[in-house]
Amino acid sequence: MLVYILCFGLFLVGIYGVIVKRDLVKIILALGIQGYAVNLMIVLFGYRNGSIYPILAKGKEPVPMVDPLPQALVLTSIVIELGTTALIVALAIKLFEKYGTFDITKIRRLSG
């Protein structure tokens, strides 16, 4: 039970970073943290009591194993977040070229 609460706390740290921080790079890092927190929670949901890792090697007997489906979901989710991070880093580089600063309170030409 304590593990789930700590994982949710990590998610809240990520959201705090996205809302409060002013530097572009710190916002990108906080997006990464909250993505990893949700991936960790998905893997934790697959745990079954008293089981081992879900790999069947040659010459071993089948024993009770944890659920392997959340692990496949997390693989896909990590690759999707890798793509998003690459896109948003490219946007941040272009923003620095146009505006000359990384401070998000100064990048405000559109308003109203």
């Binding site: 998610f11 959201i15 996205v18 572009l24 916002i27 997006l31 909250q34 993505g35 949700v38 929670m41 998905i42 949901f45 659920d67 489906l69 959340p70 979901l73 896909t76 989710s77 999707i80 793509g83 998003t84 896109l87 948003i88 946007l91 941040a92 272009k94 923003l95 146009k98 505006y99 990048i107 405000r108 030409r109 559109l110 109203g112």
Partner: protein, 495 residues
Amino acid sequence: MILPYYVIIPLLTAFLITLIAGKKDYWAIMLSFIAISALLLLSVFSFLTMKEETVTYVMSNWSVPIGIILVQDALTSYTLIMVSIISFTSLMYSVQYIRHLSMDWRYYAIFMLLVTGMNGVIVTGDLFNLFVFLEISLFSAFALVAYGGRAEEFEAAFKYTVMGSVSSVLVLLGIAILYSATSNLNMAKIAQILPTVDSKITYWVGGLFIAGFGLKAAIMPFHTWLPDAHSSAPAPISAMLSGVLIKALGIYVIIRIFFNVFNAPEIFTNIFLVLGTISIIIGVFLAVGQWDMKRLLAYHSISQIGYILLGLGIATPLGILGAVFHLFNHAIFKSLLFYNAGSVEYALGTRDLRKMGNLTKVLPTTSQTSLIASLSISGIPPFNGFFSKLIIIIAAVQAGLMGYAFLAIIGSILTLASFMKVQRYGFRGDNIISSIINPVEWRMNSAMIILAVLCVLTSLMVVPGIKELTLDPVVKVITEKTQYVQLVLGGLNVH
């Protein structure tokens, strides 16, 4: 048997364009036209021959509790036709508009990926598959908003990307909690197992899904990315985003999950009523004071999505009929309005309403079609906006919700006021403008004329003879809620 082709055809075109396009973009344009025409023909054919049965397709020969299935029923083919029509006109419009920016094949490749993602969200029957296709179409939208290369576009794209990522993470958390409660990812199976689970899980997951998908559909507390992103993007992309993306990714998924899987509990339909009405009123108030033409249109998108949510929240068959009909109409007239704004910007070089004047001599097609579109969105007969708004208001009065109906009428009057402002200052103003920078050619004009003709034709869809054919199967699928389970699992018409 034609269900996987909705995803295969645009994906194959995107990869082929990347491989064989050289410096110019002739191959790219030809391949994308062939693909979108094929999709349009397939979707019209399947809508006309389907007649109220549900077709499923099993991917990779792994059958239901283990594998992924694709499902097609009346709501699916209806939304597919809407996506195909708007993509076809957007492609025709963007041939000339994008050539003005740069002759680049990359625009067409990312456009095809956007169409792939939307088609995938519409035909799938599995929750995690929906998440993957949602992310594919969102990436393409982020990249296309920043396509022009000016400073405002990058800022708007950055805001959109950060907020889109946060909402995707919330959706993933909701899917994870639903999986841990029911240990299955198939939408029909979850609908079967869900009544035996503790009902507090439904409220948790429903709240997370309203926050996550509501941000993609631009419902009121989550709307702040929309004015920047839709006004800075190039005009055909604004039409695609505002016309189909916020509906295929936001409203369609909300209908599937809340009506077919969760069985529409009372508390969620009340939330839809309140959020929809707030969107109508505040969206129209914020739109009246704008002087930038595309920003005004973007605020009106928020208000019209509020009408659709109001219709869904009433939850009687008449209300759902109005909501579904307004979905189709809004795609047509909002795209037409964005094409008009784009062609004015292309010809004159500015978007500010105070700098325009009398444009009826130099841009005749644009002025006439913008008059038709403004009358449609304000709800004047005989155009299609009048019928759909009338049905929603009558449904609200019949259900006894007088206050909401009154607020919807106020929203409609203010919409008329702000579009009279656009017509007065933008198209029939005081100073006569006699010369334009770039002439508008036949491709952009013909895209606008097609949509204007459709504006008048779709109001025929409510005539009692044709209504049985086109709109009633769609309403039946939504109001029968968890009969979806019997249709998908019981018969299993495998093709």
